[in-house]
């Protein structure tokens, strides 16, 4: 399944949920947030949120800033 993750086209093996996508990307940091097609996804919904072909996903975290 093709997803656009953080602006990059990615071919994902898992065709499932946000939880599965994070696992495949090996993202274990708990201080992250995900937006799916420009909507913020609550953490509690990661297990139940299905991903579809061509979805635009943003995965963000805290970095240094002023």
């Amino acid at each position: 399944m093709q997803l656009v993750i953080n602006g990059q086209e990615k071919d994902m093996q898992s065709s499932g949920t946000i939880t599965q996508m994070l696992k495949e990307l090996d993202i274990t940091d708990s201080h992250i947030a995900v937006a799916l097609n420009f909507q913020v996804v609550p953490r509690s919904n990661y297990d139940q949120t299905p991903l579809n072909e061509g979805d635009k996903v943003e995965i963000v975290h805290a970095v240094g800033g002023g």
């Binding site: 993750i5 953080n6 602006g7 990059q8 990615k10 990307l25 993202i27 940091d29 708990s30 201080h31 992250i32 947030a33 995900v34 937006a35 420009f38 913020v40 996804v41 609550p42 953490r43 943003e58 995965i59 963000v60 975290h61 805290a62 970095v63 240094g64 800033g65 002023g66």
Partner: protein, 263 residues
């Protein structure tokens, strides 16, 4: 009998009380470790962070490993946002990432000066207040705007003293004074401070706090500057609370005139 050390009063923003009136940023440090040390030395209790995309295919250490959540309140910013939509979404992502309920609303209106888009700042702040955030907007040093930001429920207003990262110091103390008179929420000077005397000067005007990043991170020795800023903010606030003497043109002797020896 020992005389107690005088300390400045505390700063209350929304439901939180801070002993330090200095808020510091976490950008531009040489390393996370240097950043951690500068935070500690500065005595700050509130720390800004930005929200950015994770770099895929890279294992990156998180800055949050260097910011003790027991010691610091995080103030995620919306730096880099140019629209209301981006700003609201960035704030919501920050909250979802576990960075807390405070947000520094920063909507940039001009790339060269990084001056805020005040109209968009007001609109984004309104939406985020409604969404339950404690909103601290970076804004122009405009009294009318600051009053409006207070009226819509912002927890503080954060007028700039000079452009972000410019180090030009307090360019318009009169505007800051007008804002201080007009609003009851804390007034935090955000951006423009270059060195310790700038920080003292702002605090002596009576502003409630000071947010800075580049002045510390960009100094030749950031750790020494962190200490300098801590002292400057403290001394400036103490001087404000102490109440300075009026300025006069002529001298007034400090020593008594009576009892001079007669030669």
């Amino acid at each position: 009998m020992e005389t107690a050390v005088e300390t400045e009063s505390k700063l209350k923003i929304a439901d939180k009380v801070f002993s330090s009136r200095l808020i510091v940023g976490t950008g531009k440090y040489a390393s996370f470790e240097q950043n951690r040390q500068a935070l500690e030395i500065s005595g700050a209790e509130m720390v800004t962070v930005a929200v950015r995309r994770i770099e895929l295919d890279k294992t990156k250490e998180s800055i949050l490993n260097y910011i003790d959540p027991e010691k610091y309140t995080l103030l995620p910013n919306t730096a880099g946002c140019y629209s209301v939509k981006e700003t609201v979404m960035t704030a919501q992502l920050a909250r979802e990432a576990g960075l807390g309920n405070f947000v520094k609303v920063e909507v940039i209106g001009d790339e060269k000066t990084l001056f805020p888009d005040n109209e968009a700042t007001l609109e984004a702040s309104k939406l985020l207040v409604k969404d339950g955030f404690h909103v601290l907007p970076y804004c122009s040093d405009d009294v009318v705007l600051c009053k409006k930001l207070e009226d819509i429920g912002c927890s503080a207003v954060m007028p700039l003293a000079a452009p972000i990262g410019s180090g030009l110091g307090i360019r318009n103390p009169y505007n800051l004074k007008l804002i201080l008179e007009a609003v009851t929420v804390p007034v935090i000077v955000d951006a423009g401070v270059g060195t310790a005397s700038d920080a003292s000067r702002a605090m002596e005007l009576g502003v409630d706090g000071l947010l800075m990043n580049t002045a510390i991170a960009g100094a030749k020795d950031p750790l020494k500057m962190a200490q300098a800023m801590k002292l400057a903010v403290q001394s400036g606030r103490l001087a404000y609370e102490a109440g300075r003497i009026p300025k006069k043109l002529y001298a007034t002797a400090s020593s008594p005139i009576d009892g001079l020896i007669d030669l």
